[in-house]
């Protein structure tokens, strides 16, 4: 692909990228893409619209993805089925990606670092979680309306939440690596504890 090929003409950027996406993917792939990072329950109609397919097609593929464990179904406020990404499936996916790209030694070091960082947040702000910090910050705004900390805290809260979430993925990867060591080791154990 040359860097000098001029881009195609288009009437509407949203339609243009939508049509491109449609031509390069199947409805199943688009539904999987949309639901993959849908963490709050959504109806099949909503998923269908984002995935540029019919609600009927969306429902069929979402149900297949639910059977595979990729998606979790619940009953929505209006009695219909709603869908979201299975957290278990997400954690396993992220852990597998981490194990593919990061050595166990590095993982051990980084998990310890991230734990330290979360402890530092707790010590610095005197609360156990970013959610508590949000509440405390709201109270502070009410009692000390001249406080200038709001902006800093919004970013701190996000960094705290982000590190906590990424530590969860890294911990899962480390657990799997450790478990694999022993499960795999059983097959060719030479430590004498297994009768020859």
């Amino acid at each position: 692909m040359s860097n000098r090929i001029p881009p195609d003409e288009f009437e509407d950027i949203n339609e243009a990228v939508g049509e491109e996406w449609e031509s390069e993917t199947t409805p199943y792939e688009r539904i999987r893409h949309v639901i993959a990072h849908t963490y709050t329950p959504a109806s099949a109609d909503t998923v269908a619209e984002d995935a540029r397919t019919s609600p009927k097609t969306a429902r069929r593929h979402l149900n297949t993805l639910a059977e595979e464990g990729f998606v979790i179904t619940t009953t929505g406020n209006h009695g219909g089925t709603v869908y979201r990404r299975s957290p278990e499936s997400l954690v396993v996916e992220q852990a597998a990606d981490i194990l593919e790209h990061v050595s166990t030694d590095e993982l051990v070091t980084r998990v310890a670092e991230m734990r330290d960082q979360l402890n530092d947040y707790r010590d610095e702000y005197g609360v156990d979680s970013p959610e508590e910090l949000t509440i405390e910050q709201a109270n502070q705004t009410l009692t000390e309306p001249t406080s200038e900390q709001s902006e800093i805290d919004a970013e701190t809260i996000r960094d705290w939440q982000t590190t906590r979430r990424n530590l969860a993925f890294a911990n899962a990867a480390l657990s799997i690596a450790n478990a694999e060591r022993f499960v795999d080791g059983d097959l060719h154990s030479t430590d004498g504890s297994v009768p020859a």
């Binding site: 692909m1 860097n3 001029p6 881009p7 195609d8 003409e9 288009f10 009437e11 509407d12 950027i13 949203n14 243009a16 990228v17 939508g18 491109e20 996406w21 688009r30 893409h33 949309v34 993959a36 990072h37 963490y39 709050t40 984002d50 995935a51 997400l90 996916e93 992220q94 990606d97 981490i98 790209h101 990061v102 993982l107 980084r110 991230m114 705004t141 309306p145 001249t146 406080s147 200038e148 900390q149 709001s150 902006e151 919004a154 970013e155 996000r158 960094d159 939440q161 982000t162 590190t163 906590r164 979430r165 990424n166 530590l167 993925f169 890294a170």
Partner: protein
């Protein structure tokens, strides 16, 4: 206090979503030969840093920094060697951006201003990261070939 409140109301909702950042990296690698995406930290990423081999107009190099959260709020921030900045964003703004009806908005060049009067409605209305990312790359490429910042928030690329 008003300023602090405004900034607070303008934050992205939720933590940065590592799974979404990985997906966005993959899309950029496939779609744009002039762009090289990388996570700032593979295990605990906060941003996708996209290095562009060439900048817009007279700039020789440029970068797009991408944040995406678990609530699908986002920022795509362009900055180049000439000091030009602009940004597409999606997050609550408490009605402060008077020209913006929804969450999607555009901070125009040259300085990605956050002046409530100058922030524009974004031409990007799609939600899935596949489509938002493709739209940003396409708008960048149109501007690149036109040697102009004007197409960056224009919905169409007329003949």
């Amino acid at each position: 206090m008003r300023i602090a409140e405004t900034d607070e109301a303008h934050s992205l909702r939720g933590p940065i979503d590592r799974p979404a950042l990985l997906t966005i990296c993959g899309i950029i690698e496939r779609e744009e030969p002039l762009a090289t995406p990388a996570l700032d930290d593979y295990l605990n990423p906060t941003v996708v840093e996209v290095t562009l081999d060439d900048g817009l107009c007279s700039a020789e190099s440029a970068r797009i920094d991408i944040q995406w959260t678990t609530h699908a709020d986002y920022k795509f921030h362009y900055t180049d060697s000439e000091g030009v900045n602009f940004r597409w964003g999606k997050h609550p703004h408490d009605g402060d951006y008077i020209h913006v009806s929804g969450l999607e908005h555009y901070h125009p060049p040259p300085d990605a201003t956050s002046d409530p009067n100058d922030v524009e409605e974004s031409c990007i209305k799609q939600s899935p990261e596949a489509l938002v990312t493709r739209a940003v790359l396409k708008l960048w490429r149109v501007a690149y070939h036109a040697d102009s910042y004007a197409p960056l928030n224009a919905a169409s690329n007329p003949p």
